[in-house]
Amino acid sequence: MKIVATKPELCIGCKACEEACVKVLFKDTDTEKSAIVITELGDDKFDINVCNQCGECIEICPAQAIYRNKNGVVMIDGDKCVHCYACAGFCPTLSMRYHKEITGPFKCIACGACTRACPTGAIYMEEV
């Protein structure tokens, strides 16, 4: 299974990853809708928050709408989802997203677009 791995010490906060993510997920430019989130911590340091595909959300979903696809990536079946957001509250890394213009929770699908956009190698695809 491939996940988006991070080296926050290399992040320069350009947010190219967020732009790439919203383009893939929603064909949008609003980075508030990105599944990967960069947060400035001060002193030119940045936090990178993105799903590590641990799958704890699968067990918490009352509608069995969250599953692992054949590549091991944790996915949400929008037809089954009842929008309770238990997954968002119970994500150990707080990487399940909500945005008021998007119906239902959303998350990183490990497509790799963000890693390709990153100019410094702060995020990269890793086989786990």
């Binding site: 067990e59 918490i60 979903c61 009352p62 509608a63 069995q64 089954k80 009842v82 929008h83 309770c84 957001y85 238990a86 968002a88 509250g89 119970f90 707080l94 909500y98 008021k100 239902g104």
Partner: protein, 725 residues
Amino acid sequence: MECKNSKDINLEELKKQRVRLHESSFEPKEIYRGYADRSLYINLTNNEVKVKEISSDMKEKFTGGRGYGMKYLWDAVNPNTRWDSPENEIIIAQGPIGGITQYPGSGKSYVVTVSPLTGLPVDSNVGGFFGPLCKFCGFDALEIQGKAENDVVIFIDGDNNKVIIEEAPGECTNSHILAKTLTAMYADSEEDKMNVSVVSAGLGAEHTRFGILNFSHYDLRRKECKLKQAGRGGIGTVFRNKKIKAIVVKRSGIKGDLNNPHDLDTIIKLGIKLHREIYENDTKQCWMRVHGTTQLVDAMNAHDLLPVNNFQFGEHPEAPKIGKNSFEKIFDRSNVDGCWYGCTLQCAHGITGLEIKTGPYKGQKIFTDGSEYETLAGCGSNCGVFDPYQVSETNFYCDTYGIDTISFGTTVGFVMECYNRGIIDKEVTQGLDLDFGNWEAQMELMHQMARGEGFGMIVGQGIHRLKKLFVDKYGADKEFLHDIGMEVKGLEFSEYISKESLAQQAGYGTANKGPQHDENWLIFMDMVRNQIPTFEDKAEALFYYPLFRTWFSIMGLCKLPWNDIMPSDNHLTDEPAKVPEHVENYIALYTAVTGNDFSEEEMLRQSEKVYNLQKVFCLKMGKGLREYDYIPYRAMGPVTVEEYESRSERYDKHLKELVKIDPDGMTVEEKIKELRKYREAQYQTLLDVVYKRRGWTKNAIPTLERLKDLGIDYPDVVDVVKRFL
């Protein structure tokens, strides 16, 4: 109709036996800001089915849920209506917030009827999917009146907008089989079973006065129907008397926006915030997700509050055997043990493969939802039973037979004490050796209730009627039975020792439906933390909390996520008992759903209209005056020498410090008498202050001014009150 095993059931055979009595269509209706603004009325005497519009006046005054239930019932019955009169109704209603999927505890239904135990309007809350699914069929309330000739199943089909009533002679009446049977019958696929919910009772509900309703929801992971209970007051007894075998609702396509709320964004943010609070704090606070409410057995035992042997004592060395550590091992916890989508608090877990030792399902390994605290305390410690598997079997049979575990446990505890003291003997019990701790005898009573025979059927009439029988027929001491019979207004006590909490005593005594803790639970505030020391403090709590808690019942909400999980900094707030941040959440939720501005003051006022109507309703039915708020002395203090001696240090201290009497040289009987005089006087004084705070007369009658101020001074309400003023 009893059947042995759900595996033996042939759905096609059952369908062939059905006789259709009614089929009609209704117009679909979307919910707008939490309301459908209509209800579904069904009369089983003539199979009349109609959709009723809900007036703006009713919506403004009674809000929803229990408020709608009380108003419909008020309009339907007269002072001579009894529980089995055809005009008595069963109303199942949601509230405007009910059905949202984001905020934990938002799937409650509230059920109202005239109780076979009390003769009064009773309200009982219940989880399970029925309420929300019924609401999303386009109905804020379901109102059932009349009586069928033969057993019927009512089907509300929200996918095809139809109501169908059919005679259903073949299906098993007991709930664990019936819910599974009907869920399979009405679902199109395994996944579709989540869109079906069944309301049912059981054979025990037919022969006792404390029948319950089970509300089902399908657990996709366990492939089992979980059952939640509208337990108090005998609603299941009314249900079976109306010859309803089950009510089934089906509604597919559940999503988080079906309430069409004013501000979904706020609802989702509040929901995620509370999910996170539960994620972070559950194992630092109540451990609900691990132990369910079983941890209360240990907590109550530690504080001398766990009823033991008919409320004589408050702790027992064996109590931990039916507490959290035992059930942590016995439960097969799932991460989705909520009773509606999005409830991550998960107050109840299940047991898979419980091997049944008695009765018609002996030898089978079954799934059961629970056990929960009230059952463990009532059917367990209060009857001297401390085996977790035995109490779990009692719980299973109570549920499937449709029997209230609280009334059952409290009543059997009373009967066991009567047997123990020689007030009744084996001739009366028809051979049953009803010593405390005799679980087999307890189970035989229950199976007799289901079969409608023997001493079990007599016990199933409840403590109020047993007291009269034991006095009239067997020469028992009337006053002593009144002291130890744990009932008020005809309803059995729920499972807390209130001897050392004056506020809780009045909470039990003044509760409109009878002594159930959902109106007031003040023991910790009063006794453990001493936060409400004066009469005025206690009266303020007895004004605020019943209204605050009533609010859940008019919204379609569960109380537990209010204070069984708390923000980490709650202890730093001015009034931690109120959980101020959660109160703010509820105020914001109400506005986000309905679009109406709201405040804590308006919240209490909404409740006060419903609460006072229910109070006047009690007057209308003949049991609303002060005298009906008196409680048995065992709820106030030690009745017997053994009780006094078990805590003699405490009681001697009270005599010295509070009563200003030196107990040295007094006999125990004299000490009991003096303590009793003091405590009974305290109780009466508190009633005076509470009634005043509530805007009632000294005789517990809401004043005309209060009713006018609340806007519920309808002519028929005023007429009732005027008769008593």
